[in-house]
Amino acid sequence: MLEIKNLHAEVEGNKILRGIDLTIKAGEVHAIMGPNGSGKSTLSYVLAGKDDYEITEGEILFFGEDVLEMEPEERAAVGMFLAMQYPIEIPGVANMTFLKTALNAQRQTRGEPELKTPDFMKRVKELSAKLNVTQEMLRRPLNVGFSGGEKKRNEILQMALLEPKFCVLDETDSGLDIDALRIVSEGVNALRSEERSMLIITHYQRLLDYIVPDVVHVMSQGRIVKSGDKDLALELEEKGYADYTGGAAA
């Protein structure tokens, strides 16, 4: 589904990604762990198409298509989704209006008919109930005044509604208490299927107790330095990242 080949990216001359190679097949859930500053969030933004980064080498293929040639909205329409670490507040845009506009914009780009308001409302209601997203949160401006947990649940609601083929979850566990972590994880697990793949970026192993990955990668200094199964995450939790950062970390 997704192939990243020798990807190099930099910001204002600072090299952040230094040759990422990663292949994710349909239905697989991969986790990327790594210390602060290893380039995890940069990888997620580069996948989504944020233009603060300069790609100096390498390629990203999604179902064989060159992702780096696509605008962010085109990537979304072909089925890529980034659940953001810091979902942005947008005053003046009602959450519900935003959801409907996003869904219908994607459908329009794909040449599908618009979802009519009653059908849309029904779907949103079903999904929001499962994620404990209240009617009031749907009426409010997008993410404005939402708690950390509410923002993350709202991200997963968007993911569930937009039904992407490939999801990147960038530190979705940060800022969540135990209950919110469970709700978010259940929401994510409900979306696991043979046609949908995920890339989960996290600092901590805890999230991976809830969302069990098929493959775990360790990222350090802009490269993937080790890959293994879910036990690798447990090992990291125990030993820390010192082995992968030249032993400097305490």
């Binding site: 942005i88 003046g92 914009a105 780009t109």
Partner: protein, 434 residues
Amino acid sequence: MTLTVVKTPSEEALAALLDGAQAALPGKDFASVRADAVEKFRSEGLPNRRVEEWKYSDLKRVMPKDLSLAGEVSADNISKQMAVVPRLRGLDCDRLVLVNGVFRADLSDLDALQGKVSLTPVSKALEEGAFVLDELEIAKGDRALTLNTALLQDGVILDVADGVELERPIEILSLMIGGGLATTRNRVSVGKGAKAFILETFVGDEQAYQVNEAIDFRIADGASLSVSRLLSEGVNALHLGSTTAILGEKSHFEHFTMSTGGQFTRNTAFIKFTGEFSDAELFGATIIGRNQHSDQTLLVDHAVPNCNSKEQYRTVMDDKAQGVFQGKIFVRQPAQKTDGQMMSQALLLSEDAAFFNKPELEIFADDVQCAHGATCGELDEDLLFYLRARGIPLDKAKKMLVLAFLAEAVEHVSNDAVVDALEGFIADWLGLDH
């Protein structure tokens, strides 16, 4: 004594028009007041960039030199224009209509408000010698008002009786058709403890025309008045608008201006507190493009203690548009415990657009809270990215953010139906579904 400093062709044209029109204008008793105003214009000429208050809005440069009074229009033509001009639609309201500066009783209906609101056309009051200018000190000598007095044709005088609470807005709609100059002055008095909502609408066709309109709000003790003012003039219009408001004790005044239209628009509001424990909230949303020019000028006069004023204006400019905000809060020496907050925020969508932002405070009392702020920026890249990352194309994402920026000002309007209609109006302007 004749002091004539008229220079430019447009000033000469306007002077000729002023002289020629005097005999035909209503109200013999008002003639000397007009004559004074004409004389004042002759000595001062049109305001231009050398006059501080008009520094960014040079009327001398934009006033056309072929000037005439707007003419009569057929009923057929009026209904045609009413159907196509961009305005708030689907609102449940009572309506008064002025066409080319003349009140049209045949198109207006206030019957439902009999006993609650009285209506007198200004032309009738002028003829009967009953029209008295009620100028504010801070508005004295204002150039647009001087011209208004010199050419005053008509308008409506509305009196909302004491204690009456009106359920739906009264719209005063001004329509311009076929070009020419029109001059009106309206007055709305809200009686003690009364409550009203006024919607002012300015629309017109694509001909070059000039509107000079003024409206005076007199808000009695304990009264509450909300005003939403929609400037949706035709693409070639020149609009000079002056609003004055006098607030009594424990009164409330909410004033919202939505401006999209016209080639050149200058809007001035003069607000004066004369009774304690009153609030004025003044908001505005402007969105302009092409080479439009829009100026919002504001003077708030705190003359008595314990009053609050809050001003929040948002301006969006695209292409080569120019926006101006000038806001001044006076706090006179007796006006202790004044709370005055003024904010002007601008969003520039193009590198060729320009905004002049001039907030001022003049404070003579020592126990007050006053603040002003001004910002000028572009659309936030992070917000755009978030919307695009969810599949919303760039152009649509930009429009959504512009609507959101202005909606924050619109949402201060206290009538939900008007808020919906205004947001729909902006969405239409932007070409967004809603």
